[in-house]
């Protein structure tokens, strides 16, 4: 558990942030630039001292103003991946990677050097110097260096922001891999919705120095009021599923989620594997009766949760299917014609080909 409740002032800017997030897994700090996300991460690392509050990770208290606790950054064992990699220019890649490793307690080094090098695909770079590396390579080395310091918590401050789309696509799978392979606690700062939807278990939305929403990613993705998530024109519901079976003949894969099942176009994943999918709100069709003779593969029965207040020609409608929420973007006209209202029983129609996997 990551437990943060801090308040501080930076010039005229006030930060008052509190959230709790389960570990392991990725906790995304999401929000526009200048919202105070980096300050929160710096406070977690011990590079910024808040005026008041408390920071604890697991049962270790990093900071507690009421008890006068402020553990120095060098003793927190928090790995920090900076936006600008910050590799030591005078050291080889191998020595950069070993910098934190050498300073970790000898009897507590569960993350081995060779494993990280293989995981990040940086074996060919070990003898080189940071300034001869590409941006994507540098960022992978920076991730490796932070990992090898054997952190209790890994902080990633917009690690992809300085990279172009191609390099982003190169680094993202590595971040996914370390999330899955090392079962680390990760705090990931980003203002890119696609990254967050792909990586986050817990979402913390930060706006103007405050937390405006926090909770499990899939839950928040189905809410109507989360700035930057549900108000995007291409808003999508995030659903965590388990692969139930592959239908090789019909080239379909059957996924189970908390509330029902989904048939999607076949993809490569072991049966039993956890898979996150996205359902774009504008791809969801709503029917008041179970339709017949229709090509749509998934007809999910549920109830209307909420309907977005009047804004424009169309509105978001939240449909509760078991414990899972799915958003549908409908025209005002459709909402009026079908007399949709909270509590009404409906069917959500989702084409197998509309269900996306993040990052593809």
């Amino acid at each position: 558990m990551i437990d943060v409740a801090i308040a501080t002032r930076l010039g005229a800017f006030a930060i008052d942030v509190a959230f709790r997030a389960p570990t392991p897994g990725v906790t995304a700090l999401f929000g526009p630039s200048g919202a105070g996300k980096t300050s929160v991460v710096r406070a977690l690392a011990g590079l910024l001292r808040p005026q008041s509050g408390r920071i604890a990770v697991g049962d270790i208290v990093f900071f507690d103003s009421s008890r006068g606790i402020d553990m120095p950054a060098e003793r927190r064992r928090v790995g920090y991946v900076f936006q600008d990699s910050r590799l030591f220019p005078h050291l080889s890649i191998a020595d950069n990677l070993r910098y934190g490793l050498r300073r970790a307690p000898a009897d507590d080094r569960p993350i081995p050097f060779d494993h990280v090098v293989a995981l990040l695909g940086i074996g060919a770079l070990l003898e080189r110097r940071p300034l001869t590396l590409s941006g994507g390579e540098r960022q992978r080395v920076a991730i490796g260096r932070a990992l090898l310091s054997q952190p209790r918590l890994l902080l990633m401050d917009e690690p992809l922001a300085s990279l172009d789309a191609e390099r982003k696509a190169e680094v993202l799978p590595y971040i996914e891999r370390l999330r899955d392979d090392l079962s680390l606690a990760i705090v990931y700062v980003s203002h890119a919705r696609a990254e967050v939807e792909r990586l986050a278990r817990t979402l913390v939305v930060v706006e103007q120095g405050r937390v405006s929403a926090a909770g499990p990613m899939s839950e928040l993705s189905a809410r109507l009021d989360v700035r930057g998530i549900s108000d995007a024109p291409d808003a999508a519901s995030v659903i965590d599923t388990t692969v139930l079976a592959h239908d090789v003949g019909r080239r379909l894969t059957r996924l189970g989620f908390d509330g029902g099942e989904l048939m999607v176009g076949a993809f490569v994943a072991d049966v039993g594997a956890r898979v996150r999918v996205l359902i774009p709100a504008r791809e969801v069709i709503v029917a008041t009766e179970r339709p017949d003779g229709i090509s749509v593969r998934n007809v999910l029965s549920g109830r209307i949760g909420e309907i977005e207040g009047h804004r424009g020609g169309d509105a978001l409608v939240q449909i509760r299917i078991g414990n899972t929420g799915i958003l549908a973007r409908l025209t005002r006209d459709a909402i009026d014609r079908l007399r949709l209202a909270t509590g009404r029983e409906v069917y959500a129609l989702i084409k197998a080909s509309s269900v996306e996997r993040p990052g593809s």
Partner: protein, 233 residues
């Protein structure tokens, strides 16, 4: 080669090198410390320290020598203390020549080192902190290596300047053969002596060779440091 120079001329060369090496070596740690205070320190009197460190750069060297004579002469406050307590006499000795030279080149090292401190990326220091390095550890493994180019260029400039220091040395330590007569002083003496033209030419040639050697050495060293820092040479 031995016959090329007279014993007196060899002695001048030897004393010049001794004075240059000792003055730069003695200066360096103090200059790094002062440069650090000036670049990062926030304390009362920082402006005074800044001015004091740079005074030798703007004062005529003879005046610096005179001030040293006032302070470190046998009857000067510091000189009397050193003589009575430790039996150390600085005036008219090689050690005095070293002191005078060190004071003159001090600001050159401070300036070069300070520039390199100002250019340091504080982000790297933060990165080292998050990787578990304490303050001394960070200074040794990150800050100092990154300051190396500045320190190196300061040392080279100071070494070259110390080989040429004249005014402060002759005023404070005088012109004593085998003791304080460095190359510039020997050249000056030779020019003043009837029939000393050939000796002056030889000594001037040596100075020239030393200067060129210094330049080459600095270029080689700078290249090596650049390579160490991973930049193209």
């Amino acid at each position: 080669m031995i016959d090329f120079l007279s014993p007196d001329e060899w002695s001048a060369l030897r004393i010049s090198l001794i004075v240059a090496v000792y003055s730069v070596v003695a200066c360096l740690p103090v200059a790094i410390g002062v440069a650090w205070l000036l670049a990062r320190g926030r304390f009362f009197g920082r402006g005074v320290l800044d001015a004091l460190a740079h005074v030798p750069l703007v004062l005529p060297p003879v005046v610096v020598g005179y001030v040293l004579l006032m302070l470190f002469g046998i009857r000067g406050p510091l000189g009397a203390f050193l003589y009575e307590t430790f039996g150390i006499r600085l005036v008219f000795t090689t050690a005095g020549a070293v002191l005078a030279t060190a004071v003159m080149v001090f600001p050159l090292i401070v300036r070069a080192v300070r520039l390199s401190i100002d250019a340091l990326d504080l982000g790297l220091d933060e990165a080292a902190r998050t990787l578990g390095a304490g303050p001394l550890d960070r200074f040794r493994t990150v800050t100092l290596p990154l300051m190396a180019p500045g320190i190196l260029s300061g040392v080279i400039v100071a070494f070259a300047a110390s080989l040429g220091e004249f005014g402060a040395v002759i005023t404070f330590a005088s012109n004593i053969p085998g003791e304080t007569r460095t190359l510039p002083l020997a050249i000056y003496t030779a020019i003043q002596t009837p029939g000393g033209d050939a000796a002056a030419a030889r000594l001037a040639t040596i100075s020239f060779v030393l200067a060129v050697a210094g330049l080459i050495a600095s270029e080689v060293a700078a290249r090596r440091v650049r390579r160490m820092l991973g930049r193209a040479a």
